[in-house]
């Protein structure tokens, strides 16, 4: 824990990296264009090396299907569309978690947080239960939407988009339309 709470100036002292690569690794944030380029290369290599495209929402469905198919053995969704299993996508999701963790840890951005850093409190107040409740409900809505559409931001919008799949370009406008409306309702005072 002591490593996590190292004061900022101490961190600066510890890293006099003239090495360009180390500087990039330790940066908490890259230009979105640089990070996006890395993601584009990653998804292309995924197709080349594995013949599969990454997606995130599916892995949660593969995992919850273990419970879902126990509760309702005849459930068509869990029997045919998202069967239970430790699938390729589940391993990928573990990698995503570890990759984001490594990036956060190496850039001294890793902290245990119970609330978002910015903005949340200005709209919803500082009640922790509110954040957890809305995060839970929002997560559930998001997963239902991904189930209906057949993918999420990664599995459909990006993985589908880079293959010019029509479904991706139906999903993206839908996501933006309702996202903008939802944000306008939540932030109506200062949208």
């Amino acid at each position: 824990m002591s490593v996590l709470s190292t004061p900022k100036d101490e961190v600066a002292e510890k890293q006099p990296h003239s090495n360009w690569l180390m500087t990039q690794i330790r940066k908490p944030e890259w230009s979105p264009y640089a990070a996006g380029t890395m993601l584009g290369i990653t998804v292309a290599l995924s197709l080349l090396l594995a013949g599969q495209m990454p997606g995130s929402s599916g892995s949660f469905e593969n995992l919850i299907a273990f419970l879902g198919s126990k509760l309702d053995a005849n459930n068509i969704y869990f029997r045919f569309i998202m069967p239970a299993g430790i699938t390729w996508q589940v391993w990928l999701m573990l990698g995503v978690f570890l990759g984001a963790f490594a990036s956060a840890w190496l850039s001294h951005d890793f902290r245990w947080r119970k609330m978002p850093d910015k903005q949340w409190i200005s709209v919803f107040g500082s009640a922790r239960w509110k954040r957890w409740l809305i995060a839970f409900i929002g997560g559930a809505i998001l997963e239902i939407g991904a189930g209906i559409a057949g993918g999420c931001t990664s599995g459909l919008a990006i993985s589908g988009g880079v293959q010019l799949a029509p479904a991706a370009f139906l999903f993206i406008p839908g996501m933006f339309i309702s996202g903008i409306i939802t944000a306008a309702i939540i932030y109506r005072k200062n949208f």
Partner: protein
Amino acid sequence: MSTVVIPLIIGLAFGWSLHKAGMTRYHKIVNLFRLTDLAVLKFMMAAMVVGVGLIYAFVGFGWVTLAISTPVYVLGNFVGGLVFGVGMAGAGF
């Protein structure tokens, strides 16, 4: 090996780029929909430009076949997107 190690490595790169782009932060996601910070859009578009170029080059060389997993279902894809956007803007994931 190929069913565990390769997805793990691809996932590592994926997660790394997500964190470096700030996609793990509530305000980044929500401000996209408030149109005050378009980092998410820049990130997604950059990924698409690079990804489309590489993938269609690979297809041209005959190295890969496309793996489109989501069939076109106009109403479903669009309505799913509408439902998804509500959750995304609310939770900030």
